[in-house]
Amino acid sequence: MSVEVALHHRFGPFSLDVGFKIARAGVTALFGPSGAGKTSVINAIAGLFRPHEGRIVIGDRVVLDTKADVFVPARDRRTGYVFQDARLFPHMNVENNLRFGWRRAQNPASEGEIAHVIELLGLSHLLPRSPKALSGGEKSRVALGRALLASPDILLLDEPLAALDAARRGEILPYLERLRDETKLPMIYVSHAVDEVARLADEIVLLSDGRTVEQASVFDLLTRLDTGIDPFGAVLETEVQSHRRADRLTLLSFDGGQLIVSRIARPEGARVRVRVRAEDIMIAREEPRAISANNVLPARVVAVRQNDGPQAEVQLACGVSRLVARITRASVARLELVEGAPVFAIIKSVIVDSSH
């Protein structure tokens, strides 16, 4: 299912001028600072906001085309919208909330599919409860389930974690990961938290001041130096190669080499996304021999960005993967890190995301 969005709208001095295409299922993050126009974009996709000009296509359905005077109302768009504040119906219990969209769906899910969604989101013990008796995290999960059971063609998530504290966020993220991996729905995920995006998104549409600045894969965009976002050290799609049981370690391979991480409970061949923070990458000009770090990867300097502070960011190529090390400007000078210089990236710690 592909999605095509192009819209233009003026709100007084602020103008929205956004265009992007999503070619396949997976999570596309609409990423940018508050006030960049992210929510207006998904409201336009859902039909809750009618832009002055625009064209939106979901799959093969044109839901908005101002030139041809096409405006499909929200109720007929089949977009599953998960609002930031959940917006559960307070006068219905959880089960009736979940079934609200299902009752009105054109191709309602079977009872088996409903049971599956309830299981996937861990909702079975909540069904008879009133939304007022739910925690913030539970509300988010019910809102997700309600949107899913309306059999949408696309899922729109407006910062579903923003209203939650860190612990609750950690509780919801695995559910979102399962959803991403199990459903074949395109998901548009609005966020201004780079961590969430690095963990969940496949593709990023970067918005700033109402404009699309960039669209690229999460693996590429978060390790670039020219986007205005603080770059990540690395976001890598890896495969479990083997487990070293005696050492309690797992060997992951990716297109730039191998990584050794603490043992994870995934079978060989499973795909696992890992992240590295830029602060956790060191650079050596010669291969370090006696060193405690397990992960030392040969790499090449691609670019160096220095700003006013004492820090510098060094972008490295490791196979086709990119890494970014955040080191001091003094080190950049001392190691003579210039474009093309061969180096070794020492990775101090790896964050493994997909733990299910």
Binding site: L48, R75, R77, R78, R87, F100, G101, A147
Partner: protein, 227 residues
């Protein structure tokens, strides 16, 4: 009841209840529509519409009664037409009393329902729309249930106020025993009669009791529904 009240008194009580009941329930759909208009719609001249709806709150009820007489009197335009075409006559009839009470208490209903609609989150309406609900579906299954406590509160308040309506009723439909003599009119009549003070006091006490019962009921229902 027959032991406590004379036939004339229980007649006035039952008539009052009937007038108030019909007044409130006949006006309710209109009140919901007006509240919806004021709470959700945006249109030019909304202030004027708001003012007209709330006019009975500030107009002297006698003036409202007189206005009704000029519109619905059998010799007036609309009243005459209704009488000649359908045989419907409001003047000197209890239905006219209900009409007058309904108009006087209309703002109570609109205000309570409007406040309930405004506190029933608009965001839920949007959520329901993305889930495939059309406007009537959303109104019936989301807006109305959420506004229900407010509607009940408005209905009961309007009912209690209808029981006490005097000026508009006596002006519009006169003071006819068994037809338009509701409790307040019966109290007034008693006071006009030499030695009728005891009668007036008894009927006043009855009015106070009724008011207490309905206001307590409103409070109780609202508390229950808020949970």
């Amino acid at each position: 009841m027959t032991d406590l009240l004379t036939p004339a008194e229980s007649e006035a009580l039952l008539l009052s209840l009937r007038v108030a009941f019909v007044a409130v329930f006949a006006a309710m759909p209109l009140a919901v529509a007006a509240a919806l208009l004021l709470a959700r719609a945006r249109f030019p001249g909304k202030v004027v519409v708001d003012g007209i709806i709330h006019m009975p709150l500030v107009l002297p009820p006698v003036a409202v009664g007189f206005l009704l007489l000029t519109i619905f009197g059998t010799r007036a335009g609309l009243g005459g037409w209704l009488f000649q075409t359908f045989g419907i006559r409001f003047v000197f009839s209890w239905t006219g009393a209900a009409l007058a009470a309904g108009i006087i208490t209309f703002p109570f209903q609109v205000r309570a329902i409007r406040i309930a609609l405004e506190s029933a989150d608009c965001g839920l309406d949007e959520a329901a729309e993305t889930l495939g609900a059309g406007w009537f579906d959303r109104f019936a299954n989301v807006t109305l249930p959420l506004a229900f406590p407010g509607i009940v509160a408005g209905v009961i308040t309007a009912f209690a106020a209808s029981l006490g309506e005097f000026g508009a009723i006596i002006t519009f439909v006169s003071n006819i025993p068994g037809e338009t003599r509701t409790l307040p009119l019966a109290i007034y009549t008693a006071l006009q009669t030499p030695g009728g003070e005891v009668e007036a006091a008894k009927l006043s006490l009855l009015s106070i009791l009724l008011a207490l019962v309905f206001m307590t009921l409103a409070e109780f229902l609202q508390r229950r529904m808020r949970r």
